[in-house]
Symmetry: D2
Subunit: 257 residues, 4 copies
């Protein structure tokens, strides 16, 4: 009864640059990294309606209409963060605050949209040297951990390590350990406005991580978790008379901002 009856609408956004420039990436991900991500979501959420959008589409494929039709957006970018249009970033930000879910993957930690939502530098330590990554569950009651082993074993991965300059998460779900001894808060949730954000760090252009069964399951779990609870609506500043709880007046202070 309380389960939503409409299909979940997911937009998988991919930068799609490494795939064009580096042959080994194109071979590892023949349909693009976004293609592998979309495939993994579809395997786990067969009823979801999944759309792919990439950097080189008009408005990066993230028009107002596209976002209105998106319940949850996944974001992978790396080499071209700086090329993402500020206008599109503002638009995505507005939709997240109004309720759209957002899944930020791996190097998306340094994207404009993630740093804008976090308010911090989102920097970290890194090394791409075939470390093994073990992804340990520290919040086993969380729906995002459904159906995955503890730990998830990723044979080869880029190392991401602390200090990761992000706000304290609402929920810390996974911590990764790497061969070199580094640790990383690799799965974290944040509430921003009326939207839910899940950051999940496994995934890289140089390793076949988005073909990993457990990584795919976590991403799909995150998508399902981030689904909005209510109609899209932007938080507003309103005046309420004494005794008036449900209808504020549309006056926003001495000066318009």
């Amino acid at each position: 009864m309380t389960t939503p009856t409409t299909p979940l609408r997911v937009t998988v956004w991919g930068e799609n640059r490494h795939e064009q420039v580096e042959q080994h990436v194109a071979e590892r991900y023949p349909t693009g990294m976004h293609g592998a991500i979309a495939e993994g979501i579809g395997e786990n959420l067969p009823d979801a309606k999944i759309t792919v959008a990439t950097m080189d589409m008009p408005e990066h494929g993230l028009t107002e209409e596209a976002l209105e039709q998106t319940d949850v957006l996944t974001w992978w970018g790396h080499a071209a963060h700086a090329e993402v249009s500020d206008e599109v970033v503002e638009r995505v930000h507005r939709h997240v605050l109004a309720g759209m879910g957002l899944i930020v993957l791996h190097s998306g930690h340094w994207s404009k949209i993630f740093t804008k939502l976090m308010g911090t530098t989102c920097t970290l330590r890194w090394r791409s040297e075939h470390d093994q990554e073990l992804v340990w569950t520290v919040n086993p009651q969380h729906p995002i951990t459904r159906g995955v082993p503890n730990p998830i074993v990723i044979p080869e991965q880029e190392m991401y390590g602390e200090y990761f300059d992000v706000p304290t998460p609402d929920e810390l779900i996974f911590i990764s350990g790497f061969t070199g001894g580094e640790v990383f808060r690799s799965g974290m949730t944040y509430r921003r406005g009326f939207g839910k954000v899940f950051f999940f760090s496994p995934g890289d252009q140089d390793f076949p991580v988005y073909h990993h069964r457990d990584v795919r399951r976590v991403i799909a779990n995150g998508v399902e978790w981030a689904r909005p609870e209510r109609e899209r609506e932007t938080p507003t500043l309103l005046r309420y008379e004494t005794g008036q709880y449900f209808q504020g007046a549309d006056y926003e202070g001495a000066l318009e901002r």
Copy 2:
């Protein structure tokens, strides 16, 4: 031994507009609202070195040099948020992430610097109708609550109510209740980068709240709590070789951001 031996350097920033335009505000706060805030900090922290800066000073009084000499900055603005220069906001933001403490007061909830640090709209419900505000302590072990009664009774105040669109705080310290039945998370801390942020909502141009003894004490407690723990330094993204933990290399990925 572990107590810092240098005086705490505080900069009190005031918008200083209501005081110019509205006579009742000028009478309530003869040295400006910033004057009353600075006085309250000085009463409680007599060894602190306190400087005042206002909107109409060059660069709003917040030059690079001024911020380098500031351990903790307090911020009160309201009518002229939009006039604060984006360049100064970027500068303050950089200093907070590098370790400078920040105390955001009352209508500062909608300032550019606070919304940039939070990543959300920071909107709320409000009414200025002489509500009584009771400020209840919900974290009695926190140093910010030292020496104040529970509740703090403010006879007349502007109402600020939920939903307050901010991220989940690191620490919820005070919750206010108003005559009209509204509630508000009125004292909250956030860690951002290497800096500490304290938001405290009591305080308004239309009521003598910054002359209130307990409000003054809380602000001073917050200033003391927000003092940096270490030398100012911006979090960075660096590569670390295997086995190398303390000196990363200054290479920041495939493309500069």
Copy 3:
């Protein structure tokens, strides 16, 4: 696909003493307070299988078998907390840590099971004088807030106020304001072991709060949220050899505890 297909099994536990001793309570709640609570859950979760258990049943109706067949337990007690058997409390505690959901209602704040899970006194301030209670949502993205207005208006209620001596919640969902100016963290979640706990304070023997449509909806939302994610299993202390991640050995240290 990821939605559980088996019916949700709920046990509603009621102390059932006020109903026997005070006629006005018996009239307000003709099927007992537990009856009203069970009815409210059934209205909102028609597929759930709901069982009622009360203090005067053998083992308070909470045998090992009964708990094994319970996904989520709701708890209302007040006058007879001290009469609840320590053995039953240990049993419920073990089941919560192993994954059973627990909803603690109103005066259950001072029950043996809640104080044992919290580790604190769980004391508060109170007054039963017909205060109006407004229940404000501060976490609008949370599934427990689905379908209820902000605020929920409860015309008459017992006042519960801060300081409420409980640990910082994992999620603060509701804050209540009362006519007298008091505030209370009235909806909070806690993860304990593999189980989820939701405390919700509205509800009293002296007022018809469990007939309130929105209160019923919140309780049902809480039940649905607290549903276990995995098979019941108690966290254990185990030794793992180097390189062995999935099967620990059954040796628990120098001395058995």
Copy 4:
């Protein structure tokens, strides 16, 4: 001015059994593990008044008088958790809730006092095989991290790994990584009642960890952080009339608990 002027009174509690039974422990810690812990605190907090108490003293050295004279208690136990008297545990618990600070070290994770304060099993995975432990700071603004490198390098240590069955901490400060790939939340704070609790996992009878300079500094930082903010006082349940905020009546409900 706001710095307390009285000396900080610390009681270092040690089980003192391994030192009696195992020669290599006695050689590693000639004054006992408690002796090394006390020495490390004294080095870093020379003005503190430090007392040692051990299991075999009457009432374990933790009489009512001793606890009244203690601002912060540190706890190390392992082999004989079961021998600690329940009466003493109740007494320590009461003092923590009333404001006494508590530092729980290493195998103290499974002590009666820690599990009572947490409400969970406090179990974990472990292995004592000379793993290197790297202790990474994830909360660099916290006073407990003052003066220690990131990471702290401990050449040989027992491995403690996730899932560590404790409540979500108020503050996660350190995460450790081990040679075997395991990770552990090794520094965490909890507020319980009016007291502050810090759990710090490095430290073992089989390795000279309490002679490690950085480990000593962290423990001393923790002691300083956990110092009470106010007079010792137990949270209570009291009735407050309407408009009465500061003096509740000593009536505790329909039935005494």
